[in-house]
């Protein structure tokens, strides 16, 4: 049996980027909330928010280092496994990646070091500023990598030069701010914020289960539920909705794939659920006219179906369809959960709902899963293109790397990342438990009055 280097390279990239993504997702979300905690600590004073900064800072540090470690893999991998891609689009694609390092990675890594090691040594103002800089750096990093990936989806600001056989930059601004960058940036940043909110909520819920009076945990849960609700609603509407419409305009094959639409036209129905195969949806439950309505705001709007495209240009259906529906279902669940949490908060009864607190703990990984599902839609839905309508994935791999070598590195990554995952979960759980154990020994300022509603 001969191994296909293209297939192996794709599996390796999908696996390494999918694993890597978990950690920036949590890191960005946590960094944003950490900046919020430190801002509240600086403005409101008291010990609770500062304590939250300290505890979540530790969790961020553990998460961040795994993100860094697995991130270097990604930078190397464009060169190691996708050399043809690198040569073909390097003139445009390389710049955002370099900008990400120069303008974002330096900021977040340097200031995280200051934040973690400076506690007690630096002023409260500088402590707050470091947290803010970490959040800014993380956000800028997300921007640049999304801009780069968006260029793969909706390339702009370039021209193909037949003399050099590569794509060449004509406008940096058009390439970076291509038709999909902005909506994808908003959609992704909001998703990462939700990841952070559920992480904080779940951890705070655990602390509350150990000690209902923990003021620290209560404040964290409050912030997480309120921010989480706003973020979850925005994620569906307008961000998610606008993103899907944008895909309908610029990458109609992808929309057709994840919506399971084979026959296009006006009055296109929305397939709410079904079992996807590559030529039809089994047992499809459809709502008439709804897809045309969503994409074009009128039933007569034409939505393209997969059958309009030559077979070699069609993306697969199974993964995008399944992933999309998982993502949307989870997205709606996040709205329900945070809405319930906010509702109970208003009544001052949130901290008594043991079942809900337990649910929050189990909900921690769900936004990360939803975001990964979203990426599967985005990336598998773009196939067979690595740059939409410009370069096919199968023409992009490194010619000098054999299938055997890729198999070697693939196994190496599986083994190392499996180990890292186990260690990460173990260390996070440990850190959360140790923080809870400290809670019962906290001075009284950090304990709330059992009769209070805060």
């Amino acid at each position: 049996m001969t191994l296909d280097p293209v297939f192996l390279a794709r599996i390796q990239f999908a696996f390494t980027v999918g694993f890597h993504f978990i950690f920036p997702a949590l890191s960005v979300g946590l960094a944003l909330l950490l900046a919020a905690f430190e801002t509240l600590a600086l403005r409101k004073g008291g010990d609770a928010y500062a304590e939250l900064g300290r505890r979540f800072g530790k969790l961020l540090a553990i998460t961040f280092v795994v993100g860094v470690a697995t991130g270097i893999t990604m930078e190397f991998q464009f060169g190691t496994n996708w050399a043809q891609y690198s040569r073909f689009v390097g003139d445009i694609f390389g710049a955002p990646l370099a900008a990400e390092a120069l303008l974002a990675f330096f900021v977040e890594s340097t200031f995280l070091g200051l934040y973690m090691f400076g506690r007690g040594r630096i002023s409260k103002r500088l402590q707050w500023f470091s947290a803010l800089m970490v959040a800014c750096g993380a956000t800028m990093s997300a921007f640049w990598i999304i801009a780069a990936n968006s260029w793969q989806q909706t390339p702009a600001g370039y021209v193909f030069n037949p003399a050099t056989g590569r794509a060449e930059l004509t406008s940096f601004l058009q390439a970076v701010f291509n038709p999909s960058t902005l909506i994808r940036f908003l959609h992704t940043m909001d998703a990462l914020l939700i990841c952070g909110c559920f992480f904080v909520a779940g951890v705070a819920a655990y602390w509350l289960l150990r000690d209902r009076n923990s003021l620290v945990a209560r404040k964290a849960l409050r912030l997480a539920m309120i921010v989480g609700l706003i973020a979850s609603v925005l994620e569906l509407f307008p961000f998610g909705h606008e993103h899907a419409r944008q895909v309908g305009v610029h990458q109609p094959e992808k929309l057709a794939a994840f919506e399971g639409l084979f026959e296009g036209g006006p009055n296109a129905p929305l397939t709410v659920m079904g079992i996807p195969t590559n030529d039809r949806i089994i047992g499809a439950v459809r709502v008439p006219y709804l897809l045309s309505m969503l994409v074009h705001f009128r039933p007569s709007g034409i939505v393209h179906g997969l059958n309009e495209y030559p077979p070699e240009d069609r993306p697969p259906v199974v993964l995008p369809f399944a992933a999309f529906h998982v993502m949307v279902s989870l997205g709606m669940l996040f709205i329900l959960v945070t809405a319930f949490g906010a509702y109970r908060l208003r009544g001052g009864r949130l901290y008594e709902d043991t079942w809900f607190l337990r649910l929050l703990i189990f909900a921690i990984p769900l936004p990360v899963i939803a975001a990964e599902a979203g990426w599967i839609v985005a990336e598998v839905g773009r196939q067979p293109w690595i740059v939409y309508h410009l370069l096919r994935t199968k023409d992009a791999v490194s010619a000098s790397v054999s299938a055997g070598e890729i198999l070697f590195s693939l196994i190496l990554f599986f083994a190392i990342y499996a180990l890292l995952f186990v260690l990460y979960v173990y260390l996070i759980c440990r850190a959360v438990k140790e923080a809870a154990a400290e809670s019962t020994a906290m001075p009284s300022e950090l304990q709330s009055d059992p009769r209070s509603k805060i």
């Binding site: 553990i62 961040f64 280092v65 860094v68 470690a69 991130g71 270097i72 893999t73 930078e75 190397f76 464009f78 060169g79 190691t80 496994n81 050399a83 690198s86 040569r87 390097g90 003139d91 445009i92 694609f93 390389g94 710049a95 990646l97 370099a98 900008a99 990400e100 390092a101 120069l102 303008l103 990675f105 330096f106 900021v107 890594s109 340097t110 200031f111 995280l112 070091g113 200051l114 973690m116 090691f117 400076g118 007690g120 040594r121 060449e168 930059l169 004509t170 940096f172 490194s398 010619a399 000098s400 790397v401 070598e405 070697f408 590195s409 190496l412 890292l420 260690l423 260390l427 440990r430």
Partner: protein, 339 residues
Amino acid sequence: MIDLNAIWYILVGVLFTGYAILDGFDLGVGVLSMFARNEDERRLHLNAIGPFWDGNEVWLVAGGGALFAAFPPVYATVFSGFYIAFMLLLAALIFRAVSIEFYGKVDSPAWRSVWGWAFGIGSLLPAILFGVAFGNILRGLPIDHRGEFVGSFFTLLNPYALLIGVLSLAMFIMHGAAFLTMKTEGEIRDRMSKWAVRAWVVFALLYIAATFFSMRVSPHLFRDLTTNVFFYLALIPLAIGIAGFPAALSARKYLAAFAASAATIASMIALSGLSLFPWLAPSRINPGFSLSAYNASSTPKTLGVMLIIALIGMPLVLLYTAFVYWIFRGKPQSSHESY
């Protein structure tokens, strides 16, 4: 208008030099940590680099990113050509990074032993592999008419490249030991100073050997050197660095010693860059197949845009990096926040 290709050749060199000077001492400290006499000493090594190592490592990402942006065919050919070596390098860097963070998280001798070794070997391997990679560039690579690397992993393990690998290791140990003399005191500091001098001796001997070996293996590197004014300019900090290092140590001027090893690293890379210019990936098969800053670069437009980004970003980086080093000047304090 100054040549954008030459500017980027230099900038990529600056980024990788910055990496060598900064993460270089992290790697050196990691290697030295394997010789720590007890638990407290190993923690000292970790905390000495604690606030800095993550920011230092970004220079590698920046250098790689800049190489991709400015010279995509070089990035593609070298990274895919050095496949297995780079995978091993990645594995080592991954373990080095997480070992620093994980080391102190569980109070168990077995746990610390595992992560201590991960920190040590995770520092040792990259220190050698970077030198091996650079040595292969200096020696030339089997690159064909398509610009593809047509050798194997074992092509890279030739005696010359391996020598440069060991030289690189000695250099980083010397540099790491110098850093530790600034961050320790008393008996430990004296021991680190001895390590630094020993490493310097090995480094100096290896450097002389490597220079002669280079003349034999890659004579073209030396051809236009003696007529180049920058060659003589680069020799000055090299000479001061190499000679000044042991002198500074014996005078107990530890910051000066560290500056001397930094100057040595910078001038060594500068000299190599000078001798290679404009080649980035020379071909042993046929010089006509070599990749240079001129035949393997991005368009002037991209180089120009990237230059603006670099001119905005790098001064800021230097500013806040210097700030953090200044905040954490002096000895590492052991606290609840340390490793």
